[in-house]
C-alpha cells in the first residue's frame, strides 16, 4: 500500500529493480559472462604443463599429490588449485587444462604456467613468462577470437623463482644490489604484460608474491626454526610487490580509450602471512611445516620415489601441502578472496567485478597503497604474534 506522494519513488524503484534484474550482467549468477580464464606463471598455476615438457618423471604426477581427490595429475596440490576454483565461480564448466598437453579442450581457457618459470634468464626445462606469452600467441588464432580474448581474464603469478634463485646465488647481496634486481625483475614483468596486452588481452589479475621467507622449504633450507621466517626473502617479495600496483596503474592510465587496460591486484602476500600468524582463525593447525615431505619442516621431496616422505593424515589442517605449495583447502580460500573479497584484499576490484566490467570502459578506480588503517597483518613473521589492531 503506497501513499500518493511515494508514487514517483516506487516507479523509480520498479524501474531500477527491473533494470537490475534484466541486465544481462545480473546478480544471481545465472548469467555469468561466457569468457575464458588464462593463467600464466610458475608451479602455483601449473595445471600439468611441466609433466608434458620434461622427459623425466616429476613428483607432482605421483601419489601423494592429489590425495584429496585420489588424482595425481601434475598439479602442485593435494587436489585442485586456485584457478580451478576461480573457474568454477566464473561458471566455466571445463577444467582449465594445461595448454602444452595435446588434445585438451581450451575453449574456456588454459594454463600456460610451468613449474620453474621465471621472469629473467632461461630456466631449465621450463618457460619464462615471455615464452609462455609467445605460446599463447601461437595458439590464439586457432582457438580464440579477438573479442573473446578481450573479455577474458588473464591471471599471472610469477617472480618467486627469480628471487629464490637470486638469494641462493647471492647470499651476501646488499640493499642496492637487491633493489637493482627487483627493478630488473619488475621491468621484465611489465614488458611481458604489455606483450600480452598487445596480443589482445585487456583484463589482468596479478597475484603478488607470497611471503617467500615463510615457505616451509625456505624455512627448512635456511634453518630459521619453527617460529621464524627467512626475512631476507620476505623483504625481496615486499619490494617486488610494492612496485606492482603503481606499474599497473600507469599501464591503465596510459592505455588508449579504444582499448582500455584493466587490472586488479590480489594481495597474496598478506593472505598467506595472516594465515601463518592467525592460523586458528582460518582453521589451519600447521602453517610452518608441510603435510608431505622430509626434513625439519617436512618440506623436501614430496612425491619423489627415493624419498620416504612423511605424509600427514589430514591435509586440510595444513596451509602448505608440500614445501611451497598450498593445500587444496587454502587454494579454495584464495579463490574465494580473488572472486569476491573487498579492496583490502583484492583491489581495485575483485575478479567477479573485473569479469563484468565493460570491456570498452577505462578504469575509474585504481590501486592505492595500503595505509596503516588498512594493513591487516604486522610485518613480524613470528607465528605467536597476537593483538595487533585492525582498524
Amino acid at each position: 500500500m503506497m501513499a500518493n506522494n511515494c508514487n514517483l519513488v516506487s516507479v523509480l524503484c520498479v524501474i531500477l529493480v527491473l533494470t537490475l534484474f534484466h541486465n544481462p550482467i545480473t546478480v544471481a549468477g545465472q548469467n555469468s559472462p561466457v569468457v575464458a580464464l588464462f593463467t600464466f606463471g610458475d608451479s602455483n598455476f601449473d595445471a600439468g604443463n611441466k609433466q608434458t615438457l620434461t622427459k623425466t618423471l616429476v613428483a607432482q604426477g605421483f601419489w601423494p599429490y592429489g590425495k584429496s581427490r585420489d588424482d595425481p595429475n601434475g598439479k602442485f596440490s593435494d587436489g585442485l588449485i586456485t584457478p580451478d576454483f576461480l573457474a568454477k565461480f566464473m561458471k566455466i564448466p571445463l577444467a582449465i587444462a594445461p595448454a602444452l598437453q595435446p588434445n585438451v579442450n581450451v575453449s574456456r581457457g588454459a594454463s600456460f604456467a610451468v613449474e620453474g618459470a621465471t621472469l629473467l634468464g632461461a630456466p631449465v626445462e621450463s618457460m619464462t613468462l615471455n615464452q609462455q606469452v609467445k605460446k599463447f600467441n601461437q595458439m590464439k588464432a586457432a582457438n580464440w577470437n579477438d573479442d573473446f580474448v578481450a573479455k577474458s581474464v588473464f591471471m599471472i603469478y610469477i617472480g618467486a623463482n627469480d628471487y629464490l634463485n637470486f638469494t641462493k646465488n647471492n647470499p651476501t647481496a646488499d640493499a642496492s644490489a637487491q633493489q637493482a634486481f627487483v627493478t630488473s625483475v619488475t621491468n621484465k614483468l611489465k614488458n611481458d604484460i604489455s606483450a600480452l596486452y598487445s596480443s589482445g588481452a585487456s583484463k589482468f589479475v596479478i597475484q603478488t608474491l607470497a611471503p617467500l621467507g615463510c615457505l616451509p622449504i625456505v624455512r627448512q633450507e635456511y634453518n630459521t626454526g619453527m617460529d621464524q621466517c627467512y626475512e631476507k626473502l620476505n623483504d625481496l617479495a615486499k619490494q617486488h610487490n610494492e612496485k606492482i600496483g603503481p606499474m599497473l596503474n600507469e599501464m591503465a592510465r596510459n592505455s588508449p580509450a579504444s582499448a582500455p587496460f584493466q587490472f586488479t591486484v590480489f594481495d597474496f602476500y598478506n593472505a598467506v602471512l595472516t594465515r601463518t600468524q592467525r592460523n586458528q582463525n582460518f582453521r589451519f593447525f600447521v602453517t610452518n611445516a608441510s603435510c608431505c615431505g622430509v626434513g625439519s619442516h617436512d618440506a623436501y621431496g614430496c612425491g619423489l620415489p627415493n624419498v620416504h616422505s612423511k605424509l600427514c593424515e589430514y591435509q586440510r589442517s595444513f596451509l602448505f601441502f608440500d614445501g611451497r605449495h598450498n593445500s587444496e583447502k587454502a587454494q579454495e580460500m584464495f579463490a574465494h578472496l580473488l572472486f569476491g573479497a573487498d579492496t583490502n584484499v583484492v583491489q581495485p576490484m575483485n575478479v567477479r567485478e573485473l569479469t563484468v566490467y565493460p570491456v570498452d570502459e577505462p578504469m575509474r578506480e585504481f590501486w592505492v597503497p595500503p595505509t596503516p588503517a588498512t594493513v591487516h597483518a604486522s610485518d613480524s613473521s613470528s607465528s605467536t604474534s597476537r593483538g595487533y589492531e585492525y582498524y
Binding site: C13, V14, V17, L18, F21, A28, G29, Q30, G61, F62, W63, P64, K67, S68, R69, D70, D71, P72, G79, Q280, F285, P305, L311, E313, Y314, Q315, R316, S317, E328
Partner: protein, 417 residues
Amino acid sequence: MLLIPSFTANSNEPPPSKLSLSDLSMAILKSHFFLLFPLLLLHFHTVSFAQTLFVFGDGLYDAGNKQFLSQNRVDASFPPYGVTVGQATGRWSDGSIVPDYLAKFMGIPKISPILLTTADFSHGANFAIADATVLGSPPETMTLSQQVKKFSENKNKWTNQTRSEAIYLIYIGSDDYLSYAKSNPSPSDTQKQAFVDQVITTIKAEIKVVYGSGGRKFAFQNLAPLGCLPAVKQASGNVQECVKLPSEMAALHNKKLLQLLVELSRELNGFQYSFYDFFSSIQNRVIKSKTYTFETGNAACCGTGSINGSNCSAKNVCAKPEEYIFFDGKHLTQEANLQVGHLMWGADPEVIGPNNIRELMVLPLDITVILAGIQEAMAAMRPRQSNIESLYDIKKMESEMDNHWLYQVDKAISFMI
C-alpha cells in the same frame, strides 16, 4: 556439510570424560583435537568424538578371527602374512590393514578380533572374518548377520553412549558376488538385479539391528572391481583384462548400497554415514599403477601362477611388497591399505562422501535432524530415487538445490515490486 549452531541450555556441558585420558602419546596424537573441541562446545548441542571403532566384514578387514574358526590352518596367522611388520597376526596382508590405519588416525589402539577373548576391547572390536558373506551360511566363517549377532551378544562391554558415538566400519559382499559369478556365468540383467537386491536387503536389516543397539555412524567401503583381483583374473585364464561379470556385479551393488544409505538417512533419525568409493580407488591403481607408486596393478606379491593369484606361501613371496597393490590373490598390501586409509580419513566428497571418516568422527549426534530436512527437500525435488548412482550424483543434487534456491530467490524478489 552445513552445521547449524544451536544454542540451548545444554551448550555448556562438559566434554565427555574420554578427553581426560592421561596417556601422553594419545594426548599428542589428539592435541589438534583439543583445539577443535572448544569450538564445537561453543556451538553444538551434543558434542561427539568417536573413540570407538567396530569393524564388520570379510578378509579385507579380518584382524585375526579366522584362525579361531578354521580347522585346517587356512588362515593368515603364519608367514609370509605380516612379513613387512615382522609378525603374522592373522591379517591378510604383509602388514597393517585399513581398520588399523583408521584406528591410528582416530588416536586409538588397533582394534582386536572379537574371537581373541583375552584382548582389550575398550575401544571397540573387530568382527570381520575371511570368507564372510551376506547371504547363505558358509562354513568356518561368520556371515554379516552372525557378526552382528556377536556384536549384540557382547554389547554390554560398552556403554550406550560409547555405542552411539562409535564408528561402524563395514566391507562385505565380495564373496557373495564371487561365488555367484562362479555358479552363474551368464545371468540375465533381471537375475543380477535380483541377487543384488537380496544382498542389499539383508545389509539393510543388519544395519537396522545395529542402529537399534544405538549405532549412528556408519562407514561403508564399497566393493572393489572384483574382476580385477589377481585370483579372479588368473582363474579366468585371461590375465590381461579384468573379468567382466564380477566387476559388473560389484558396480551394481555399489550403486544400490549408496541408494540404501541415502534412504536410511531419511528414514532413521540421527543416521550418519560415509560412503567410500573403493571401486574407483582400485580401478585407478590397476590402470595407472605407477602414478600411485606401484610397479604393477596386475600381479600379486605372493602366490603361484602367471600373476601369483593363488596359494600364497612363504616360498613364493615377492621381495618388495610395497611395489604391489595386491599382497595375495584377493587382499591388499600394507602400502595399498595405507593409501586407502588416507583416502577414507581425509579425502574430498568425490572420493568419500558426504563425510570423510574424520568428519564423521566429530559430527554431532543430533545433527542429522537438520540434514534430514535438507535430504527431504532434495527428495521432494527429485522424486525418482534411482537417480543417485554415485557420489557425483549427490554433489549434483546439492548444486541443483543451490540453483533452485537462487531461482526461488529471484522469483521472490520479483514479487517485491
